[in-house]
């Protein structure tokens, strides 16, 4: 689906947290995961800005590891604060989707 950018904006950070939460990983792999999921418009640059923010806000643990080709890669894993943030994200998501579903079904 095209033109999801605006609608995805607020939720992409949660998606990245979820991906990191399931295993320690790096930017390119996260981007590929999102692309495979069907978010084709997400580029590495977008993920990079999110990772930078997560790092700055102290939600991830970062480890530099040498890569087979090119410069060392930064690997990301969730720390306790990150796991808390992820739980909050899903709680908010739950809340929003349940309200919107209700709206769609014509309920109150």
């Amino acid at each position: 689906m095209d033109n999801l950018t605006e609608m995805l904006k607020g939720t992409l950070e949660g998606c990245v947290l979820e991906i990191i939460g399931s295993e320690e990983t790096y930017g390119y792999a996260i981007t590929r995961r999102l692309n495979e999921l069907g978010f084709a418009d997400v580029v590495e640059g977008t993920v990079y800005t999110i990772l930078l923010r997560l790092e700055k806000n102290g939600l991830v643990q970062v480890t530099k590891r040498p890569s087979e080709q090119g410069p060392p890669r930064k690997f990301y894993a969730l720390n306790d604060a990150g796991r808390k943030e992820l739980a909050t994200f899903w709680a908010k998501w739950e809340y929003i989707t349940s309200r919107i579903d209700k709206l769609k079904e014509g309920g109150r």
């Binding site: 390119y28 590495e44 640059g45 977008t46 090119g70 410069p71 890669r73």
Partner: protein
């Protein structure tokens, strides 16, 4: 106390420029335009050099992966820049706060 001074103080500015010059021309063009934009907007992250050197780190990874620069960060370079500094204040914010005596009143 400027950007150059600080990075130079850490003897990193020259290394930074050498890395910049080693990038392919499409990356160099985009890097320069980004730097120019940040000089005008003035995010506080400019001063310690982390913002710009982080971009070069990220670009080097893109080059190693054999990608073109816009493939890496998307066509909307300005959006990429604004995402990068989303949570960070700018010197003009700091300045506006200094004259108003309270935070958060600066027009962006």
């Amino acid at each position: 106390m400027g950007i150059h001074d600080i990075i130079e103080g850490k003897k990193q500015w020259r290394a930074h420029m050498a890395r910049f010059k080693a990038l392919p021309s499409d990356y160099q063009i985009v890097y320069k335009e980004i730097q120019r934009y940040f000089f005008k907007v003035g995010p506080v992250g400019l001063a310690d050099g982390s913002l710009l050197s982080g971009i070069v780190d990220f670009f080097e990874e893109g080059v190693a992966a054999g990608k073109g620069v816009l493939e890496l960060i998307g066509n909307d370079v300005a959006a990429f820049c604004d995402d990068l500094i989303k949570d960070s204040r700018t010197y003009s914010d700091v300045y506006q706060e200094s004259i108003s005596g309270k935070p958060g009143t600066a027009e962006q």
